[in-house]
């Protein structure tokens, strides 16, 4: 199929095989992703993902902006979960500065990040169900997501690319009624999750489309670097929020949902349970938000001492890492973003081999990739 170690453009064409091209414009690739499928009849024998259609050179731009100026760019990578991106970046720069956000800021950051996790998973659920043919969950999920986005809008003025956090803490105080809004959403949300579970979990058609589809073993996950719900569904009970807590996660109790088979159905269950756990974290957090300042002691002009730092968080899609190299000036020398979707997408080939063409769409959906993050 492909010669080892060549640099030439590898082609997938064999003698009697069909190469089916999917994308880059396609309703189910969740962005501009091009997938070349090498088919033998209906079965997929190999794939090749072509990415880069959304490459905007974010890492290069970072070298020409100050640390604060770069923060809005970070939202545009995983645009479905912008708040998480912001959290990772702000915490990474704070590490670089040897500074820390005050406790109140940390708790509010946690609440917003968990709400964002729920929102991101709702988008995943709606679009994944739509790809498999269930038309209705999409609208229900977006109705819930609307409530979360309203909270974001009241908090920082933006719904999608929020730039909610600042380096050193927060700029905006939690608005009057923030706790009430979050509480009302969380109380209502349990019933909604139950609604989605009723629609899909026991549905034999859903199970038929997702059970044993896209199986990835735990060893493969770790070897391929897949993280997040994909890793947990394969049986590895690991969550960076518990392993190396950041923000205020060490103060709250929550479970890590784990799957057994590593198939699409397990990933679905893991993400549903993660939404539940996020809701619990939010409820715990709003009970006691500590008083105090929301901005730590960082100056107006940020000049971190020369050196480097790597900080990663558990974004909704996996491990989101920031590797920052500073040369002592106000602009970073190098910003590297380790995107979870990029590394997770590598596992696509392994997951899809041997399946039918109709499963390809389900597997892309279950990977939960956002091309803004894959390409940056």
């Amino acid at each position: 199929m492909r010669e080892e170690g060549t640099n030439q453009n590898a082609t997938l064409l064999g003698a009697d095989e069909l190469v089916l091209n999917m994308g880059p414009q396609h309703p189910s690739t969740h962005g501009v992703l091009r997938v070349k499928l090498k088919l033998d009849g209906e079965r997929v024998r190999g794939t090749e993902c072509v990415i880069g259609y959304l490459h905007r050179g974010v890492e290069k731009i970072a070298e020409h902006r100050t640390y604060q100026q770069f923060a809005p760019y970070v939202d545009r990578m995983d645009y479905v979960a912008a708040v998480s991106n912001g959290l990772g970046y702000c915490e990474a720069v704070e590490k670089l500065l040897n500074a820390e956000a005050p406790p109140r800021a940390r708790v509010i950051r946690t609440i917003l990040t968990e709400l964002q996790r729920i929102a991101s998973h709702l988008v995943w659920l709606g679009t994944h169900a739509l790809d498999i043919g269930a038309l209705t969950p999409l609208f229900y999920c977006f109705r819930e997501r609307e409530e979360i986005l309203k909270i974001f809008e009241r908090y920082c003025g933006a719904r999608l690319t929020t730039h909610a956090f600042r380096i050193g803490g927060l700029q905006y105080e939690a608005y009057d009624g923030f706790e009430k809004d979050v509480e009302r959403f969380c109380k209502d949300f349990e019933r909604r999750i139950q609604e989605y579970m009723d629609l899909l979990t026991g549905n034999s058609i859903w199970i038929g489309r997702t059970r044993n589809v896209g199986v990835l073993s735990a060893a493969d996950c770790i070897a391929l670097g897949a993280s997040g719900p994909i890793l947990r569904a394969s049986g590895v009970k690991w969550d960076l929020r518990k392993a190396q807590p950041y923000a205020a996660y060490d103060q709250y109790q929550f479970e890590i949902p784990v799957g057994t088979n590593g198939d699409t159905y397990d990933r679905y269950l893991v993400r549903m349970e993660e939404m539940r756990q996020s809701r619990l974290i939010c409820l715990q957090a709003i009970e006691r938000i500590p008083d105090g300042p929301i901005m730590g002691k960082v100056g107006k002009v940020l000049k971190p001492p020369a050196g480097e730092v790597y900080h990663s968080i558990e974004a909704p899609k996996g491990i989101l890492g920031y590797y920052l190299v500073s040369d002592g000036t106000t602009q970073p020398y190098r910003v590297r973003v380790r995107p979870p979707s990029f590394v997770n997408l590598q596992a696509f080939d392994k997951m899809v081999r041997g399946h039918l063409v109709a499963d390809v769409v389900a597997i892309i959906g279950t990977l939960d990739i956002v091309l803004g993050e894959v390409d940056r």
Binding site: M1, A10, G46, G133, L135, G208, Q346, G354
Partner: protein, 449 residues
């Protein structure tokens, strides 16, 4: 007189009713199908917590007109290497098959559409399955690799489920003993209960099979947008596409009518022959009046004045129809329209309920993968349908031997249900075995790319 002219006039004199009905079908059914599409969109919106078409006309009532105009004025695109004649012919065949099969359907005891053929049900089923030809020709004529694959899939699906549907129909035909539509409904009237209660398994088999027959979800893989291999309709746009689309909805109406006739008592009211329930004869008028009343109740809750006015208009229309139903009952010279009117009301009500179930399933269930679809058809539905036919036959033999009709039928229904559960269990076992078996994949570096 010119003998040709004489023959022509004689032909017209004999067949003018049927010809008129033909014109009516071709004129009215596409419009009705268009409005069925609107109802579906509104229902889908309601189940999805939104409103649906609202802009074009009040509450979107002119949406089908707008869609029709849009499709008619669209550019007619024909692929370069497509076979021109077949490309033109395929949607026509689909539409013609659907419309012609409507010719034998009866809405009321004297209200059949064209003529009461003595092989009515067979005619309807047979002609509507000619629509298959339209699908496969359309896919082939498009001269596109993916269209032909989609067409083949569609055809395979339709043929498989046609078998199951036919066998389910046979069960009901055993109970009625005749193929003529009017006679089937009469048989239901004489037995005092709809056939769905006598042969429920047959009804459910027919329900599932008819969903697959019309390419509706959860069996709509060949048409789904998010699937890779596009369906047979891909290369069609504009008016040609609308022929396919309307043919599909006309087909839905046809299968709903067949199911209503065979299982749901056609134009009969619930419990048709039971005299102490004859007050149900007033039900059409009462129901329409209730609908009008509900409209008035909702009118008070509308946020905007325009919508309030609209609900009042709907209420008025409902009351008018209620009056229409009630008047012939009390005005003696008009009594003769009663059976037809009432019959049409019940028939349309049942067809609407059946279509509602179609739509409801579409919005709720995900899609079957094609191999799962075929498994369901061949491994579960067809064996079950065969078993069901045998069971109903046995029940009728038992009835002849003196058993109580109901006991015989309950016993055989229980047996069929047991078979169904067993078949599903076998399928689950087969699935478990298949998933644990490893399929052959390419060796080598599967982490690359």
């Amino acid at each position: 007189m010119n003998p040709t002219l004489e023959a022509l006039l004689h032909f017209l004199a004999t067949w003018w009713v049927e010809l008129l009905w033909g014109v009516v079908i071709v004129a009215v059914v596409p419009l009705v199908a268009g409005y069925v599409v609107l109802v579906e969109r509104k229902l889908m919106a309601d189940m999805q917590a939104r409103l649906g078409p609202m802009r074009v006309g009040p509450h979107g009532l002119l949406q089908p007109i707008a869609d029709a105009v849009e499709l008619l004025i669209k550019e007619d695109i024909i692929p370069d290497n497509a076979d021109q004649l077949i490309f033109w012919l395929a949607p026509v065949i689909s539409m013609v098959a659907a419309l012609t099969s409507m010719g034998a359907i009866a809405f009321g005891p004297t209200l059949q559409v064209a003529r009461d053929i003595n092989i009515g049900i067979l005619f309807v089923a047979g002609v509507s399955s000619l629509g298959l030809l339209g699908i496969v020709l359309g896919g082939w004529a498009s001269n596109s690799h993916y269209s032909i694959i989609g067409a083949m899939r569609s055809t395979a699906q339709l043929v498989s489920y046609e078998t199951a549907a036919g066998l389910a129909m046979v069960s009901a035909l055993l109970l009625s003993g005749t193929l003529s539509i009017r006679a089937i409904v009469d048989a239901q009237r004489q037995s005092g209960v709809w056939f769905v209660f006598l042969a429920p398994m047959a009804f459910f088999i027919y329900l599932v099979a008819s969903i697959a027959e019309t390419n509706r979800a959860p069996f709509d893989l060949p048409e789904a947008e998010s699937e890779l291999v596009a369906g047979y309709m891909t290369e069609y746009s504009g008016f040609r596409w609308s022929l396919y689309f309307l043919g599909e909805y006309a087909n839905m109406i046809v299968v709903a009518s067949v199911a209503t006739t065979l299982f749901l008592g056609g134009w009969l009211r619930p419990f048709p022959n039971v005299t102490w329930l004859s007050w149900l004869e007033y039900a059409p008028a009462v129901l329409m009046a209730l609908a009008g009343g509900y409209s008035i109740y909702r009118a008070g809750k509308q946020p905007v004045a325009v919508q309030t006015g609209f609900m009042w208009a709907v209420a008025l229309a409902c009351f008018a129809v209620a009056v229409l139903f009630a008047v012939p009952r009390f005005v003696a010279p008009l009594n003769f329209v009663l059976p037809g009117l009432n019959g049409a009301f019940w028939f349309l009500l049942k067809v609407s309920a059946y279509l509602y179930v179609f739509m409801w399933l579409r919005f709720t269930l995900p899609r079957y993968r094609f191999d799962q679809l075929m498994h369901l058809g061949w491994y579960i539905l067809i064996p079950l349908a065969i078993v069901n036919v045998v069971a109903v036959g046995v029940a009728m033999l038992l009835e002849n031997a003196g058993w109580n009709r109901w006991v015989g039928l309950m016993v055989t229904t229980a047996f069929t249900l047991g078979t169904a559960l067993y078949l599903v269990h076998l399928q689950d076992k087969r699935n478990a075995r298949a998933s644990s078996a490893k399929t052959d994949v390419l060796p080598g570096n599967s982490y690359a790319g």
